[in-house]
């Protein structure tokens, strides 16, 4: 089920990317897209009644029904990468704002 949430967020993100011209909103849409992707990734390793893959006291690893840890590790990485891209995107957006006093790409038009 959780996949639906992921895919829905992905689609919402894409919709945002397709429609808005506002730079900040574009970045937000991108973040939504990434978030959706991350949720989707997490969902890939989902196990019914699974536990977080952290060993706790006195229970051997094979008795527990862990979810797949690898997608979680990947998501961790993906989040940070998304964060980096977002930070850079915002910086670029600010630069554009500094130049044109607007975040709206349709106002800026084609920069030559």
């Amino acid at each position: 089920m959780i996949q639906f949430a992921g895919i829905a967020l992905i689609l919402i993100g894409i919709y945002g990317l397709m429609t808005t011209k506002h730079m900040i909103k574009l970045i937000i849409a991108l973040n939504v897209l990434e978030l959706g992707a991350n949720i989707f990734i997490i969902s890939v390793g989902f196990v019914k009644n699974g536990l977080a893959p952290i060993l706790t006291a006195d229970v051997p690893s094979d008795l527990l029904n862990f979810v797949d840890p690898l997608p979680q590790a990947m998501v961790l990485t993906a989040i940070v990468i998304g964060f980096g891209a977002t930070a850079l995107g915002l910086a670029v957006a600010r630069k554009v704002y500094g130049k044109y006093q607007t975040y709206d790409l349709s106002v800026i038009g084609g920069e030559e």
Binding site: I14, L17, M18, T19, T20, K21, L26, L105, G110, E111
Partner: protein
Amino acid sequence: MTMIFIFLGLSLLLSYVLSRKQPTLGAYFTIIASLAGLISVYLLRNSVGVTESFYYLNFQITTIGWYFAMILLTVYFTSAFFNPFWMDELIYPAAYNSLYLLSLVGTIGLFFAQDLMTLFICWETAVWSSMLIVQQGKSRQAAWVYFVISAIGSMSTLFAVLLTMYLSGTSEITGALTYFTTAPVAGALVFGAFILAGLTKIGIFPFHVWLPLAHGSAPHTFSPVLSGGLVKMGAYIAYLSVAVFPAYQVFGDSLKIQGVPLPIYGLMILGAASIVYGTLRAIQQEDAKRLLAYSSVANGGYILIGILMMDQMAFAGGLMHLLNHAVASAAAFLAIAAVAKRTGTTKMSELGGIIHRMPITYTVYLIAIISMAGIPPMGGFVSKWLIFQGLSEKGLILLATAAAFGSIGSYMYVFRPLSAVFLGQLAPKYEHIKEANPVMVTAMLILTAMSLLLGVLPNLVLKTIAKIQIELGINPIIVNGTATLTENGSVDMLQVFTVFGFGFLLILILFMVLPKSRRVGLMDTYTSAEFIHTPELLHYGHSFYAPFERLYEKWPSVLPLYKRMSMKLSELGEWAESFFFHPDPNRAVLWIVVVAIVVIIGGAQ
């Protein structure tokens, strides 16, 4: 043979170095280098069949290759005499000289190529080096059009070459091309691609557009090479694609018109079209060089038809016309160049009466045009005669008509510069010009002598052509002493020449016997009861054939078609740019989605 290439390669570098120091020196060096090339290639005449490899290029001496190479070298050699005098007009003289020799290397290599790769490499080398020369002339556009049309040819050759190599598994020309006797369908494709290259390079309608542009605006010294020399590369390709490539076998099953398979007949019709078109356009031109360029288009048609006929007469005629046209056209271009050197223009309406200052140049031009128009006793007659005989023997009446049209039409256009440039009233501004430089005159006289020699003793060349025909297994042209015999007619050019001389002598005597005339100035002319006071105004170089031109001045030209095509391509590019390369992230994401949908929908099935 490899030595020749190495020598020419080295002299190319040397001429560059020399030209950097002193452009004229390098230009003189091109004369020496091309002469050395000429002599050394001439010495190869008995070593037919020798194969040599140079790195990954393979060469083989063949009779036909030797013949073509000799033509080219002659043209290059004689045109080189003009190089030293144009060095100050060019801004890259060193590049000019070395590229001049490089294009020579390329063309010679093409004719001696033993494998298809070598053929193509040499072809391209000649094309781009000559293009870089053309750009030093008056027009970049011309050089560009030249390159583009050549590139159409090059790429289709490349396609043919690679497909042939892939299918036949060999790259050796004869072996690879004869493979297609067993694969006619692929053969047809390869033939089409191959001959396209020939058509573009000869300048056959509708690929002729580059000729007037390139010939008309190339440096004056290089126009003869373009017209007399490089165009012949296309003829060689045409030769390969019909003689070495088993075209008549490949199209053996197709519909035949008077024994000629339909595809080949179609090509001949193109040749005929270019004869007619070239003639009509040449008649219209106002610039002497462009006029000669269009005449090259028309003559290219003869050459193509001749070669495609693959018979006793027309084939020999086509091959001989190559030489005749090369010599005559080079001479004509050189004469115009000599005039341009003195007067600074090639526009016919700005010239006139030059004969009174440059009589030798005039004579050279006269002989050249007589040969080009195919009037005895010059070389052009023999080859055209052979083509006519061949065509009428087969009964190809449409082609023969076109050939006749081109022939008679050529009187009109060759006379035009003769009258407008050399004859008529001498403009006062050219009162003090001098005859061309002796070096230039030498070159022009060599070509003139050749034209005459070829006309009087055509068998010197026809012997070689007969050898080629025997190698190809077709009925050779019969050469008997000074007489040339064919199945349906014979001619003895020496006799014709003698009789002609006799007639001339008779009249000369008559003229001498009659009272001597008094020399008067050009202004002392009777004109509708008026006397000429303003010769400039009465120049008749402009719209010389106005009544005739009026009949077809509205006919569509081909160049706009290409321009429109280029525009359409640009528009398509613009569309692609604005459609797919829109500077808007939304649009790009939209495309991602669209592609994703397409793939999913398509793949789901």
